[in-house]
């Protein structure tokens, strides 16, 4: 009876860690809002600039892409955390 109880607790612990990791991965991706808003704003400004001066469209587009890739980085950090939690869950090893 004691042994059966011990094994059950191990499954409960594992289930708890897995559930918490899944919820954590989902919460981490809320950080996807930031780059969406920021880059949308940047592209809007780029469109304005091209509308005002069409011959600068090459330079404006290049700068916009560079700015978007840098602004994307916080979204990528959250993505990496979510992927680590989902696939290479380090918390299971500590059980």
């Amino acid at each position: 009876m004691h042994y059966a109880g011990g094994r059950m607790e191990n499954i409960m612990e594992r289930a708890l860690v897995l559930a918490a990791s899944a919820i954590g991965a989902g919460l981490a991706m809320i950080a996807g809002i930031g780059p969406g808003i920021g880059e949308g704003f940047a592209v809007g400004k780029a469109c304005e600039a091209i509308g005002r001066q069409p011959e600068s469209s090459g330079a404006v587009t290049r700068t916009m892409f560079i700015g978007c890739a840098v602004a994307e980085s916080t979204g990528i950090y959250a993505f990496v955390v979510a992927l680590i939690l989902m696939f290479i869950n380090p918390f299971l090893g500590k059980l």
Binding site: I66, A69, V70, E72, S73, I76, V80, L83, F87
Partner: protein, 243 residues
């Protein structure tokens, strides 16, 4: 009908680190040789042979096509450095060009089926640490040891210093590794879809991942390599300028 091994598609999502091909011990320390190291060496040797081929038998007035290509590439790199950093940094040309070539070829090998070199955090961390050491050296050269240490009285400066290599390496790694994971998930889903309909050979995996890899491999690899070298140049230039 019996489907050969390579046509049966992917039945499990393989997401993890690079495979360890072999290992050897030196002085009791175990050194793992992973796929990343072998592919990096292959890219290195291929790039060296390419460069040797392009610059073989150069003449003062270019006659062969390959010398014109070589001069065009060098001119492009020099222009980029002149526009970003200014004329006095011309000696950074080889480092920037080598970094860009390693990064873009390291990401583009995933088009031929190998695992991207830059999808391994060690690679991008190494490049970011090289840039970090160059930035600190430039700062020490510009303002001396005293001036360099005086800026750390404000603890926020320590955070911004440490965050430079961390953010550079994670940006590059996250984009490439995330693309690799999404592509493998798409392959897995398309294989499952083909099997659910009843086909033994996964025909859905033929065209769609190629369209996705236009963004994840070509565009993302090129943009991340370009951003990495642009940030390197901007940080080094701002570290060398006396303000």
């Amino acid at each position: 009908m019996k489907v050969p091994e390579f046509l049966s598609g992917s039945h499990e999502v393989q997401i993890g680190g690079p495979k360890i091909v072999f290992h050897f011990d030196v002085f009791g320390i175990r050194i793992n040789v992973t796929e990343t190291i072998i592919i990096s060496w292959a890219i290195l040797i291929a790039l060296t042979l390419l460069v040797l081929f392009l610059t073989h038998n150069m003449q003062k007035k270019p006659v062969k096509k390959r010398q014109i290509i070589a001069e065009y590439l060098v001119g492009m790199v020099d222009n980029l450095i002149k526009n970003t950093m200014g004329k006095k940094f011309k000696s950074f040309g080889p480092y920037i060009a080598a970094l860009f070539a390693s990064s873009i070829f390291g990401s583009l090998v995933s088009l031929v089926g190998l695992r991207s070199v830059t999808a391994d955090y060690s690679t991008t961390l190494c490049w970011a640490l090289m840039t970090f050491i160059m930035i600190e050296t430039a700062k020490i050269k510009t303002s001396g040891i005293g001036g360099y240490l005086k800026q750390f009285i404000n603890p926020l400066n320590i955070v911004s210093e440490v965050s430079t290599p961390v953010s550079m390496s994670f940006r590059h790694f996250g984009n490439v590794a995330g693309g690799m994971i999404i592509t493998s998930l798409v392959y897995f889903a398309l294989t499952g879809l083909s099997n659910a309909i009843g086909l033994a050979v996964p025909v859905f995996t033929v065209g769609i991942p190629a369209v996705l890899s236009l963004y994840f491999d070509l565009f993302s690899g090129f943009m991340q390599a370009f951003i990495f070298i642009m940030l390197t140049m901007i940080y080094i230039e701002s570290a060398c300028s006396t303000e």
